[in-house]
């Protein structure tokens, strides 16, 4: 399964302040571990909301709003996309990240297409059984 991991921004990230060299180094090492483990699919840091734009949708009307957007707590400063077996695995990986200071990082599972082996509805099961029977019938000489 895939998860998206959202790292919240704060006043520092909004001010464009770079984190310490130490933290950058630790984060690079963490990212390396994710890549080495075949978990990392994608990840990026996002620029401060001073560079962001918003579009508000109302009927056919579109309003464009320039950043910055003051509500820092809800601002995403970075994201990852990970390939994991379960959200528990994602949690264990995330625990190894060098975050600190009470920051809360959110893991969101991505919708996966139905895996027909595991989530066959009763209707699909019946259909599959009929299909199998039909194939049997037709394969007889």
């Amino acid at each position: 399964m895939r998860v998206m991991v959202f790292v919240p921004g704060d006043q520092n990230s909004e001010a464009g302040k770079m984190p310490s060299q130490e933290l950058i180094a630790k984060m690079m090492k963490f990212n390396e571990e994710l890549v080495k483990a075949g978990v990392m699919l994608a990840g990026d840091g996002l620029t401060p909301t001073s560079k962001a734009r918003r579009v508000r949708f109302s009927g056919s009307h579109r309003a464009v709003i320039d950043g910055p957007f003051a509500e820092s707590k809800e601002i995403v400063a970075g994201y990852w996309i990970w390939q994991v077996q379960s959200i528990d695995e994602a949690v264990e990986w995330l625990k190894r990240a060098p975050f600190d200071d009470g920051i809360e990082v959110t893991i969101r599972p991505v919708f996966e297409p139905e895996d027909f082996g595991r989530e066959l509805t009763p209707e699909l099961r019946q259909k599959e059984a009929r299909l199998r029977a039909e194939v049997e019938r037709r394969s007889k000489p």
């Binding site: 890549v35 080495k36 483990a37 075949g38 978990v39 699919l41 994608a42 996309i81 390939q83 077996q85 379960s86 528990d88 695995e89 949690v91 264990e92 990986w93 625990k95 297409p113 895996d115 027909f116 082996g117 066959l120 699909l124 259909k127 599959e128 299909l131 199998r132 039909e134 194939v135 037709r138 394969s139």
Partner: protein, 444 residues
């Protein structure tokens, strides 16, 4: 607050392969290494619910396993000493405490190489890989390969015995030997991936979890071997094929051929990753190796926004190179299909007819399937129907069978079965998307 079992299992998934690899390095015995690892896991399940997961769970597990190993060695030592009538330590007991602290950093690779040892049959390697590296249970592996569970259990046990009896060295080889061993790993990964991508038997068309496992291991290897072109080539191939998994299965679980797929359902993240891996492979080695060539073919499909925009002449050229490299009749078949799209159905049929007596393709359902499709495109419906029926009789996957029978029936109808002319199917005109089959021998 107690720690959920699922959290411990997640840690196990992250740590177990490197743990077993490290223990193998120390005790020189795969079965023993696994046992020690299992004991460490049991200890974790016993303690972590109350203590919480340690900050460095890998180290905790290794220390626990080491302690068990030392205890066992001491016990054996004492028994040997008692038998000899002395309390001197017997020679040859490894200095476990010292050995453990050397982290050579290659323990994961070590285990991959062991699991994929060329001494073992490909099936045994696949089963061992899924067990040791994927952490799949015997039941899960049995389900994946549609084999009885006892068969898989025996296969794994026998594989371990073979390795033990042959006293295979557990050191990670270097240089040319490492490259050679890598190729046996790639073969296993692709086998597992293919089984998930186009399940050869059974009622499910795809098994995405197998693709995911193969992809994960492929990504690990690509990171570990930045200079090995075919590692990146295989990874590119798997990423690109996996990008189509969602589009390959219809709403009722039926197969959807490549050229009929809704390309908006292709996973662009994987396409992007696949094309990037392909670029790396192409930059690393010319002429291109077989996996890289297959990836390039897959890439040609991925780059076409619609089926009609497919660069068929380029695909034909890639198949030319692949056919020369592998001499595989399956590749020749796939090439014939590409030729039919680049230069017309008659040209393709000529090539397919040349393969009629090819012994390797004697029970390969895609040969009559392709022939049937080409005949249909040429308006020769009666012949097409017979070929498609023959293809259905040879197909082992229930979905493929049904698809082929349906197309055979439709040959008799007043309207075309929707596969004639330019809207034709996948390069192999059959559910198993071509490039994946190109260099594999026909399924047995």
């Amino acid at each position: 607050m107690g720690t959920a079992r699922s959290a411990i299992e997640a840690v196990w998934r992250i740590e177990s392969a490197r743990l077993i690899g490290g223990l193998v390095r120390i005790v020189h015995d795969l079965a023993l290494a696994e046992d020690l690892a299992q004991e460490a896991l049991l200890a974790a399940m016993e303690h972590w619910p109350s203590t919480g997961i340690p900050e460095n769970p890998g180290a905790w597990l290794m220390t626990t396993a080491r302690n068990r190993a030392v205890d066992q060695a001491r016990r054996r030592q004492m028994q040997a000493g008692l038998a000899l009538g002395s309390s001197e330590p017997s020679p040859g007991i490894p200095d476990l405490a010292a050995a453990i602290d050397e982290d050579l950093g290659d323990d994961l690779l070590r285990l991959i190489l062991i699991a994929c040892h060329p001494l073992l049959s490909t099936e045994a390697r696949a089963a061992l890989t899924l067990r040791l590296l994927g952490g799949l249970t015997t039941a899960e592996i049995a389900r994946a390969f549609l084999a009885p569970e006892p068969t898989i259990a025996q296969r794994i046990a026998r594989a371990k015995r073979t390795l033990a009896e042959a006293r295979v060295p557990f050191e990670v080889p270097r240089g040319a030997e490492l490259s050679a061993r890598l190729s046996s790993v790639l073969k296993v990964l692709y086998l597992v991936f293919n089984e998930g991508y186009s399940a050869t038997k059974g009622n499910r068309w795809t098994r995405p979890e197998l693709c995911e496992e193969a992809l994960r291991l492929g990504r690990i290897l690509a990171e570990r071997f930045p200079q090995e072109a075919e590692v990146h080539g295989l990874l590119a191939l798997m990423e690109l094929q996996a990008s189509r998994l969602r589009a390959r299965v219809g709403p009722s679980g039926e197969p959807v051929l490549l050229l009929d797929q809704d390309r908006s359902r292709w996973d662009q993240l994987l396409v992007h990753r696949g094309l990037a891996a392909l670029a790396r492979a192409e930059a690393l080695c010319q002429p291109l190796g077989p996996y890289t060539l297959q990836a390039a073919i897959a890439g040609a499909h991925s780059r076409a926004r619609t089926a009609a925009e497919t660069d068929w002449p380029r695909i034909v050229a890639l198949y030319d190179a692949l056919a020369q490299l592998t001499g595989s009749p399956v590749v020749e078949l796939n090439r014939a299909v590409a030729v039919s799209f680049a230069f017309g159905a008659a040209a393709g049929l000529e090539l397919v007819d040349a393969l009629a007596d090819e012994p390797a393709l004697a029970s390969y359902h895609l040969l009559p399937s392709v022939r049937g499709d080409l005949l249909l495109r040429l308006g020769r419906r009666g012949e097409a129907r017979l070929e498609l029926e023959r293809a259905a009789s040879l197909a082992q996957n229930a979905w493929e069978k049904a698809l082929l029978l349906g197309r055979a029936r439709a040959c008799l109808g007043a309207t075309s079965p929707g596969r004639t002319g330019e809207s034709g199917g996948d390069a192999a005109a059959a559910p198993s998307s071509t490039p994946g089959l190109a260099s594999e021998p026909p399924p047995r």
